[in-house]
Symmetry: C2
Subunit: 409 residues, 2 copies
């Protein structure tokens, strides 16, 4: 008898009918001889409505009470899902984050999971229940206050619950069939990837394939939780994410990710002798701007130059933040910006043992007449910026160059 954790997001439980669909899937999983824990989000739209209510009350709602308010969204969906299961003649029991023993630390609205004490959940399973647990929430380990877990929090709840109950499998249900070699809307030959290792999933998450937040993948990696990304509207097998194994290295590149709406900021003419990188990065951090690629040229003739990419939405704030610190960077320091960029990344653990990957990427782009800009690499990823207008063509030629359309292990 396997123990399976299934996570359903807000759109999978977005209406009474969809909740019934989830109920049927859970019952079917139990009928197939498994013990089942569901972790679910608030019905889609509910969280936004609650945030709206809070902002009707005050421009700056207290984070602590925002958590109390938002947590009601999942509490409603777990209750409704249990009613649906009960209505179909099966036993179910709902758990809030606190009831499920999910203890947290960190700030309100951005809580982190410290520990899960699963005895209540396990007892309910022993009694034959389908357990339905509220995702996205827990209770602070020191004060007993309600915490929500921020973006991607329900995935994290599911992964952590799977670790705590020692689940045989954790299934993350979404509205896509799994992780693809590239976005199928861009590259029609894109295939679903059957197996990925955590590192590849992490690199793809941080380079545009927004199936899951990196924090959940990191948590799964840390606790060795094998999970599968699947579609809640069909029965297709999905993408399994697990520990790296030697067979994975046979393939140099696993997938191509693209990210649009990128912008570049360059600070040039830097003559400040030391610490100029710290000044620049602190200014951007204080303005809460997530920068992505960093290219720092070594100074020649005592003049340095640094470039960053970021989401286009952050460009204005980044300019404002950097303008303030320009005087600290030298008399000639100035800002230069470029928007209308996109980023292409190729990802694969096999890159470590296969040489020539970078060469293939840039040769194929050059052959197609596509100019590349900034370049950044990790051990298992190569990223480059291109003009936004070129990104789809770039994805297609790189996808083809690595023959990602062919089925392989």
């Amino acid at each position: 008898m396997a123990l399976i954790v299934q996570k359903y997001g807000g759109s999978s439980v977005g209406s009474i009918d969809r909740i019934r669909n989830v109920a049927r899937r859970l019952i079917e999983t139990q009928q197939n001889g498994n013990r089942v824990v569901a972790v679910i989000s608030a019905m889609s739209g509910v969280t936004d409505k609650l945030i709206g209510l809070a902002h009707e009350m005050t421009e700056h709602p207290s984070d602590a009470e925002l958590d109390v308010l938002l947590a009601t969204g999942e509490q409603q969906s777990v209750a409704l899902l249990c009613m649906a299961i009960d209505d179909m003649g099966y036993k179910a029991m709902s758990f809030t984050g606190a009831q499920a023993g999910i203890s947290t630390y960190g700030s309100h609205t951005r809580g982190r999971i410290m520990n899960i004490e699963p005895s209540g959940v396990l007892r309910a399973l022993d009694e034959g229940n389908i357990v339905v647990c509220a995702g996205f929430q827990g209770v602070s380990h020191d004060g007993g206050r309600i915490h929500t877990l921020g973006r991607g929090g329900s995935d994290l709840s599911a992964i952590a619950m799977a670790a705590a109950v020692k689940a045989d499998l954790c299934q993350i249900y979404t509205d896509v069939d799994g992780v693809y070699t590239c976005d199928p809307r861009v590259v029609k030959e894109a295939r679903k990837i059957p197996v990925l290792c955590y590192e590849e999933m992490l690199e793809m998450a941080s380079s545009g394939s927004k199936v899951m937040q990196a924090r959940s993948v990191e948590f799964a990696k840390k606790f060795g939780v094998v999970f599968e990304v699947r579609n809640s509207m069909n029965n297709n097998s999905g993408t399994i994410v697990q520990e790296e194994n030697p067979a994975m290295e046979s393939l140099a590149v696993r997938g191509v990710s693209i990210e649009r709406n990128q912008a570049r900021v360059t600070v040039s003419g830097i003559t400040a002798p030391v610490a100029y990188t710290a000044i620049i990065l602190s200014a951007l951090a204080k303005a809460e701007i997530n920068i992505d690629m960093i290219v720092a040229n070594v100074a020649h003739d005592g003049v340095a130059r640094q470039s960053f990419t970021m989401n286009m939405n952050d460009l204005g704030a980044a300019q404002a933040a950097l303008q303030k610190v320009l005087p600290q960077l030298g008399d000639k320091a100035r800002l230069e910006t470029e928007s209308g960029l996109a980023k292409l990344s190729v990802v694969g653990v096999g890159m470590r043992s296969n040489s020539g990957v970078a060469a293939t990427v840039f040769q194929s782009l050059a052959d197609a007449g596509i100019c590349t800009g900034m370049i950044a690499t990790s051990e298992i990823r190569i990223s480059t910026t291109v003009d936004a207008a070129d990104i789809e063509k770039a994805a297609r030629v790189v996808h083809a160059a690595f023959r990602l359309d062919r089925v392989s292990a």
Copy 2:
């Protein structure tokens, strides 16, 4: 420094503006040098909406999960109220029933309070917070499941919280100024009663003055909680309800209650030798009909007769239930019903030491040409049925006969 518990019902927190109004009142109470605990209901309408959602899911939602769903209503209102207080520059902390240490027993949707462990609430008060606690809910003492407390549950939460924290005063805010000598819409000379004892409040609650459910008054009496019924929209003093004291006996009658929509059922021709009362009352109980007055004539010539009053809405169900058991009551047993009745009650602990109260009631009604029907009495209450058409006139003449329009201690 006094500790005050204030309870606000659903209409008092029914909109963002009204929640702000409650926030201001709580802050003012704290600014006057008090420690303040608020116990509040869900925003008016929210509970009904959630029940509607449950019934969209299934005709018979599980009571356990209905509790989980309904409890989100108060959780939302406590969060919003705390945001409002925070926005005005004061410290507040919200508590769900579970967080407030309210442990319960009994059935789902009709939980009863077993105990309140107030250390969390007291600690929050020590830290200078206005404590805002969700009424109507608690957590089952044995299973950690969410319980709601049924009708009048928020009043009960407030009274129980006041007992647990040893509050100096418990204020129940409603949309009326307090308990009146009679309904002011019927008797324009009706006055607000400054002080009542628990027994009087109980008799008035069960005889038509629906300011509070009897269960909350009983709880207050059991734990000696002094409470005041007040209006949340003004600063008028309300009605204080407390232990009986000798001074209260100087006034024979404290108030006149009226209850409309009454009906009478009479079973006559009963010849069954024993247990006929048990047969009749069991049949009515099984049909979940609350009967009010009971008049049981002694059998003469071996034939007995019993009459009951009840709410007119229950009349059909009562007839159906009794029809089934008629054969067990004898060959000649038959049913007789009368609707279009109302009930008038006079209440006062002073009745015990003042003779002639009944005589005054029936003399004044007779002088006004009003026929009375069934009569029932307790130690501190006299009730009689009259034709519905006569009830307002009856209330006025009895109110006048006891000079209830005059201000007194």
